[in-house]
Symmetry: C2
Subunit: 130 residues, 2 copies
Amino acid sequence: MSQALRDAGVRVTRQREAILQVLTGSEDHPDAAELHRRAQALDPSVSLATVYRTLTVLEREGVIARHSFENGSARFEIAEPGHHDHIVDLDSGEIIEFHSEKIEELQRRIAAEMGYEIVHHRLELYCRKA
Amino acid sequence: MSQALRDAGVRVTRQREAILQVLTGSEDHPDAAELHRRAQALDPSVSLATVYRTLTVLEREGVIARHSFENGSARFEIAEPGHHDHIVDLDSGEIIEFHSEKIEELQRRIAAEMGYEIVHHRLELYCRKA
DNA sequence: TTGGCTGCAAAGGATTTGCACAAAT
DNA sequence: ATTTGTGCAAATCCTTTGCAGCCAA
């Protein structure tokens, strides 16, 4: 992955390696401040500004996905192949991923009916345990 | 509408009437700064802080809906009966409303499968003219 | 009358940026 | 040797808040 970035003309610094390592090792959806905390455990020199700058680069390179849920800061995750949407547990804050090809298809149809083509979309279900 | 607010124990001030009038007269999805501009045309005494405070109250009372699209500030509209989602034209910034009961149903089914009940949701299609 | 509003200005939180230095290629 | 990345602190942007006076009920 580091090599892929280098090939894309991105310099892979000590700090960026730390941030990448944190991201690949995270199962949840941390925000910039949390990533900063975790990255500093690996390399205390990592600054919050660099975390933000690196996240911007990684998003541009398609390595990570950024999600802005209601309330609070943006959250990040390694971009897996295949898009997914999110359920947000309003009580625990937990984030659950799901995917529905049926919904995606309906979205495309609706957009097409209005003369549009979807570039990207955002679907979030804010839920409570039934 | 003013009376309904009064009945709910909300004071309807000169400023709030101006803001309400702007909101009911707006076909688009203005943000707080734009509402401030428009409200000042009716009553120059309206401050931006009051716009924000009023929007919070009106949202709590169910009079308006707040939407936070990607990039930029929150946008507001009078809450019509019946929920709708949005298409955002990435080139013009235009916002188009749509509703799909099929999608809503699928969302409910998916949430239910995970043991959840949807409190509210957010679906936005970021599009370009085909 | 009086508790809820208001304007103003200052504070807040998240994110970005200018700068001089450091380090990857 | 270049050119890009870095830390730090200051700056931005949107939004909220403390305070002293104002006004809707």
